[in-house]
């Protein structure tokens, strides 16, 4: 067990434990802040997978964008901060059956898939490779995603303006 293994388990524990708290805690604000640690842990795991750019994008988009927006939404919405969210259990039997089937499917996929485990040379940086791939092989997908985001932006702006009138 070298240092990287220890660091991996630390990040994995942070991710799993905080994700558990996100769904079990009764306070919406706590859920949002636990999400911060989940995103942080996932970013750490990306770093250990030698995906430095993806890790930083993870923090930039999820912590810097989505989480802050979420916090703003929760804090600006009156009466939501002090409401206890019901986290009781209902429909225990169908839920456990469905979750059991899903879990079994995921585990069987994990076990029976023929994972390719040949050692690859880890690139020093992924930025250049990602950039050239995005603008050559995947340029259509890239442009379509850009248009999708633009449509979402225009939609959000138009909804926000309509309420004002």
């Amino acid at each position: 067990m070298n240092y990287y293994d220890i660091i991996f388990y630390i990040f994995a524990l942070i991710t799993v434990i905080s994700a558990g708290f996100v769904v079990t805690t009764r306070n919406v604000i706590y859920s949002a802040f636990f999400l911060l640690f989940t995103f942080f842990g996932v970013a750490g795991i990306y770093v250990l997978l030698a995906a430095d750019f993806i890790a930083v994008v993870q923090i930039m988009v999820y912590v810097g964008g989505i989480l802050i927006l979420l916090l703003f939404g929760v804090m600006l919405t009156n009466k939501i901060t002090n409401v206890d969210i019901r986290t009781g259990t209902g429909h225990l039997l169908p839920a456990s059956v469905a979750v059991g089937i899903l879990m079994g499917a995921v585990i069987s996929i994990m076990v029976y898939t023929d994972w390719k485990s040949q050692p690859v040379e880890t690139p020093v940086t992924t930025v250049k490779i990602l950039g050239s791939l995005l603008l050559t092989d995947y340029v259509l997908v890239f442009e379509l995603l850009g248009i999708l985001l633009l449509i979402a932006l225009i939609g959000a702006a138009s909804i926000a303006r309509r309420e004002k009138e």
Binding site: Y3, I29, Y30, F33, L36, D52, F53, V56, V57, I59, M60, V63, G64, G65, L67, I68, L71, F72, M75, L76, T81, V124, T125, V127
Partner: protein
């Protein structure tokens, strides 16, 4: 630095920790001298004397304040959210200090030569925003919550012009790594990016005006990101007591102040790396002309810290000269002026770099 200590001790953990101590010491020194200088400069600008009792010229005033702060009782309000309240100062300081991991103090002294350096710094600053929101919400105080909201809105908005200017510089230099960006602007000030970069040609002279515009935009927006006057509406004393850290005292309050001064140095460092040659000396190196190679990294560290301090002094000068902006003026400055200019600047720099 890291490699040197690793060779010395042969242990990854020890060498990482020792490398991490240097920026921490730098932040502490910046806070210690920064607070004193801020008082002195504000006093000079307002025609006062400033601190002059403790030690010669009042030099030990911040030391005395620090000792006082350490032994203060940790008084907490009754209706706060205890866990988040205690976590918030740590998170704010983490966001500030994490940026130092990628800042090259000299060609040898850098925490981690990550290839995504500048992008990493932009990303970790979002932890500070989360910490500020946490502090404001958990304090259970209307002034703190208002201050936190204003601060978060301000930082998120001003991140956009900052990112646009950084993008144009990254496009020009072709790398995200702060070490490489510094390295490309070789020693001598006419090779710095503010004067068009190191390659001599037509594009160098065409770039100069747009570089100056980019520098002004990024300087204004980083000033707003560290919540300094004229953009200090998050902690406007006359409106909000002290903004998001109204309810904090003692060492937790000191953590917020430490983060503020640490951020001031960090954004100064980013501006000097992007436009003013990073750790490079403006006049060439004494070590080169004397033939002493080991001197060069020390000279670089000196120039880097000197440039950082220069921009901190400019920030203080602005703070005590300009009045505070209103919230709507702040937002219109960002969205109606800085962002369009930054976009135009980005396009023009792109066209010139294709020439």
């Amino acid at each position: 630095m890291y490699q040197f200590i690793y060779d010395l001790t042969g242990n990854v953990i020890i060498s990482t920790l020792v490398t991490a101590v240097f920026p921490l010491v730098n932040v502490l020194i910046v806070a210690l001298i920064g607070v004193y200088l801020e008082r002195k400069i504000s006093a000079w600008i307002q025609d006062r004397v400033g601190p002059n009792r403790v030690g010669p010229f009042g030099l030990f005033q911040t030391v005395a304040d620090f000792i006082k702060m350490m032994q203060k009782e940790d008084a907490t309000p009754t209706d706060i959210d205890g866990k988040l309240y205690n976590l918030a100062p740590v998170l704010v300081f983490t966001g500030c200090f994490a940026a130092y991991a990628a800042i090259p103090f000299s060609s040898q002294l850098i925490g981690s030569e990550v290839e995504v350096g500048i992008f990493f710094i932009l990303a970790v600053s979002s932890f500070t925003v989360a910490g500020i929101l946490m502090a404001g919400w958990s304090s259970n105080n209307k002034y703190a919550l208002l201050g936190a909201m204003r601060s978060a809105a301000q930082i998120v908005s001003y991140e956009i012009p900052t990112a646009l200017v950084v993008l144009s510089m990254v496009m020009l230099m072709g790398t995200l790594s702060l070490t490489k960006i510094s390295e490309m602007q070789t020693a001598y000030f006419w090779n710095w990016n503010i004067l068009g970069g190191a390659t001599l040609g037509l594009s160098k002279f065409l770039l100069i005006p747009f570089m100056i515009v980019g520098f002004i935009i990024i300087f204004i927006s980083t000033l707003a990101e560290v919540n300094r006057t004229p953009f200090d509406i998050p902690e406007a004393e006359s409106e909000l007591v002290a903004g998001y850290f109204t309810e904090y005292c003692g060492m937790k309050w000191a953590m917020f102040m430490l983060a503020e001064y640490g951020n001031m140095f960090a954004v100064s460092a980013i501006v000097s790396i992007l436009f003013f040659g990073g750790y490079h000396s403006p006049f060439g190196y004494l070590g080169n002309s004397l033939g002493i190679n080991w001197l060069i990294p020390y000279e670089q560290a000196f120039w880097f810290v000197a440039k950082g301090w220069f921009f901190i002094l400019v920030q203080m000068w602005l703070r005590w000269t300009l009045p505070r902006l209103r919230v709507d003026q702040l937002m219109s400055l960002c969205w109606k002026y800085l962002i369009p200019y930054a976009v135009v600047n980005l396009v023009v720099i792109g066209i010139i770099s294709l020439l």
